[in-house]
Amino acid sequence: MNAVLDPIAALGRAALGLIKQAGALALFALEALSHLVRPPFYWRIFFSSLIETGFFSLPVVALTALFSGAVIALQSYVGFGQYHVQSAIAGIVVLAVTRELGPVLAGLMVAGRVGAAMSAQIGTMRVTDQIDALTTLSTDPMKYLVTPRLLAGTLALPCLVLVADILGVMGGFTVSVAKLGFSPSTYITATLDSLKTMDVVVGLVKAAVFGFLIALLGCYNGYNSRGGAEGVGSATTAAVVGASILLLLFDYLLTDLFFSQ
């Protein structure tokens, strides 16, 4: 009997744990967001997070986008060659980059770089009593540490994705023209014909959601870390893994919402 019930009980416990985590994360997000409309707002922390998330992530996001665009062009050329529709490459590159690869790859890169850093920084502050010190100095830690980072993440990622979109298309263009023998003007014309405002806008909406999720998971795991260096390490891992999974889940949900007709 136990052999049957034990796995079910374990599954139930895991499900309840997941629901509890989701609830705690939602309450954390709501509290942080409520500080957006209650002064003071810590602009210095916001701008420094914006620069950290946006500006300093530019190189890694740019390189990722450039090579991704190039790889799609190469792979499409091989695949489409079987059906003699190589001319569709420009459209495929721009569609894939603006709708999916730009937001998702930029999001994953930022999750690894910025989400981990946020979690480690706030986690270290937690285990060294710096967060408690903020409270004793009449400063709400949520307002000071979390809210500016959430806003910065939400605003920075769309900017990064816009750059990623341009560079991704440029990657595809470079490979197609330099290696695959496409005419530059034909490629650009085909790209512009395939480029739809809706694709770019939805990509940017996705990016804003991803940026919010990355900052939320980074702050939440750091804020709730316990147990010294090991706890901070675990929180950082949880922040990156959690953000990556949520990012892909929301990517599906948003794609379904905007594009499944």
Partner: protein, 271 residues
């Protein structure tokens, strides 16, 4: 600059704690603590590791929510007061953390200036500008025996004793009516410990504050406190004059203060 004096009703202790309970899971950390701290008193709380000293301080500071009991400051129950009232009462408190808890993303001067700006902006008065706050911070650093040029360093460049001094400067930035010290001499050599104790006594006297310090260090306890109490397994088992600490007449207190292995206090190897 200084915190406006808060009128305490006649005969009311500055801090009054009654029946304070706190448990983490099945582990009872505070088990019905009653404690009065009169205004202007420096109360030292001693006790072994895990006896509940830090949890008691954190409950008063609002960092941990107790399960039951009352905590009154100036006769107002912190736990049932409105949020704004709680904030106002806790604004009177300055805290020196065990490891200093300096913000490592800021310079030393910015750490102290943060305390200056945070506490001043609370009182509906004009918040000092960043430059003004840094100037005030320089003066506070001097007050704790540090050259104002130390303000340009990062906290990680300071020794443990210097970090404690900076933490003290930040804690007194708002001229608090109540000061808490969490093991202020832990990790310091005896001379530096004595220096920190001297600074604490000076600051508390200058501000006319009520102080609670928790410590394992008997020399420090006698230097800082004029009253003392001992926590054991979440209960307050003794209160008296700090000068009586080494000869309290209580078997547990005497065993603890003299560091004897044999006695009524037994080591908990596993609980």
């Amino acid at each position: 600059m200084s915190t406006p004096p808060v009128s305490t009703p006649l005969g009311t202790p500055k801090i009054r704690i009654r029946g304070l309970h706190k448990a983490f899971g099945s582990k009872i950390v505070l088990d019905g603590v009653d404690l009065d701290v009169e205004a202007g008193t420096s109360m030292v709380i001693i006790g072994g590791s895990g006896s509940g000293k830090s949890v008691l301080l954190r409950c008063i500071l609002g960092l941990i929510e107790p399960d039951a009991g009352t905590i009154e400051i100036d006769g107002e129950n912190l736990l049932t007061a409105s949020r704004s009232k709680q904030d106002a009462l806790r604004r009177q408190i300055g805290m020196l953390f065990q490891n200093g808890a300096l913000f490592d993303s800021m310079s030393v001067g910015e750490n102290v200036a943060f305390g200056v700006r945070a506490k001043h902006s609370d009182r509906n008065g004009a918040t000092p500008s960043r430059t003004q706050a840094l100037q005030i911070a320089g003066g506070l650093l001097e007050q704790v025996g540090l050259d104002p040029s130390v303000g340009e360093l990062s906290p990680s460049e300071l020794s443990g004793g210097m970090q404690k001094r900076v933490g003290l400067a930040r804690a007194i930035a708002g001229s608090p009516n109540i000061m808490f010290f969490d093991e202020p001499t832990t990790g310091l050599d005896p001379i530096m410990g004595a220096v920190i104790d001297g600074l604490i006594v000076d600051c508390v006297q200058k501000l006319g504050s009520t102080a609670i310090a928790i410590t394992h260090d008997m020399a420090s306890a006698q230097r800082i406190g004029n009253r003392a109490a001992m926590l054991y397994r979440g209960k307050l088992i003794w209160q008296g004059e700090a000068s009586e600490l080494m000869n309290s007449g209580n078997a547990m207190v005497d065993q603890f203060t003299h560091g004897r292995r044999e006695g009524p206090i037994t080591m908990e190897l596993r609980k």
